[in-house]
């Protein structure tokens, strides 16, 4: 079980959170101009990183807020926690 540090509530048990998948995916501004390949990539294709993964988490059974996490998919270690809308932080590989 992970302890996740919510930016508002502090350290809480992983049970209170849910993972919302990869972060920094930007919805296309003009989807009508995209072909099926590009739209399919946007909807379905993910990085599936071995190493540092930037992902969204929500403190659903807590303050209800979304935030971003940099987590190693190898060790499960949480390397950074930052606000939605911020750039990817520098983290050790």
């Amino acid at each position: 079980m992970l302890l996740i540090s919510c930016p508002w509530c502090g350290d809480r048990s992983e049970e209170e959170f849910s993972c919302g998948g990869e972060a920094h995916i930007v919805r296309p501004v003009t989807p009508q101009d995209m072909d099926d390949q590009a739209w399919g990539d946007y909807v379905f294709m993910r990085r599936n990183e071995k190493g540092v993964h930037f992902e969204r988490w929500r403190h659903g059974n807590g303050c209800g807020r979304w935030f971003n996490v940099a987590r190693s998919t190898v060790t499960h270690e949480i390397l950074a926690i930052y606000q939605v809308g911020d750039d990817r932080p520098e983290v050790p590989e």
């Binding site: 079980m1 508002w8 509530c9 502090g10 350290d11 809480r12 048990s13 049970e15 209170e16 059974n61 807590g62 303050c63 209800g64 807020r65």
Partner: protein, 202 residues
């Protein structure tokens, strides 16, 4: 303000009333009577909103995470940076704008959401109250962040709760009405090893 026609835990309280008192019980469970409540939404960083709340209810909205403040039978519990639970009668929510909170906040960016009778509060008290919650809830109940004056949303077994520590080592647990029966039974079961008493009345 009128209460619900049907108390969510009436069936369990009736059964409990037939049991003999347990003076040796480590844990006492009590279904609290209906209390009016609303959810207030607004931005912590909106100084005009915060000021208008104070003007309307005479005390400051808690802005620090997981803090509680109260005044004159009204209690405000922090749920999130833009969300509070207000316990007590702050005036009618409908028709819109009639209550004293609604009047104070008129023209400010906010939302007042009536909770109706959608919530049930279960009071858990007794010398082993913390022990029984510790079996079911991942919060660090010994932390100073959960002393009276604080609150936290979390989970109790498989159900979402709002935990509101009380003076004297008791806790108020807010659960959604439809989870009241589940929460009560899981508490009663987890408390068996300490002895459970069911309190009736207010």
């Amino acid at each position: 303000m009128t209460g619900p026609r049907h108390q969510p835990l009436a069936h369990l309280a009736l059964a409990a009333a037939r049991e003999a008192p347990r003076p040796d019980a480590g844990v006492t469970l009590r279904a609290l009577p209906y209390q009016p409540s609303i959810i207030l939404r607004g931005e912590s960083g909106d100084a005009a909103f915060v000021k208008a709340f104070r003007a309307g209810l005479g005390f400051d909205l808690p802005l620090a995470p997981n803090h509680v403040s109260s005044h004159d039978e009204i209690t405000a519990l922090w749920l999130g940076p833009s969300e509070w639970l207000i316990l007590g009668d702050v005036g009618p929510v409908a028709p819109a704008g009639q209550g004293r909170l609604a009047r104070a906040l008129a023209g400010r960016h906010h939302a007042i959401i009536s909770q109706g009778d959608g919530r049930q509060i279960i009071a858990v008290s007794g010398p082993r109250a913390r022990d029984v919650l510790g079996k079911l809830c991942p919060l660090d109940l010994e932390s100073p962040d959960l002393a009276p004056g604080h609150c936290a949303r979390s989970i109790l077994a498989r159900c979402g709760i709002l935990l509101h520590p009380q003076p004297g080592g008791a806790y108020h647990l807010h659960v959604a009405r439809s989870f009241a029966d589940y929460a009560w039974r899981v508490l009663a079961e987890a408390g068996l090893e300490f002895g459970v008493a069911i309190a009736s009345g207010d």
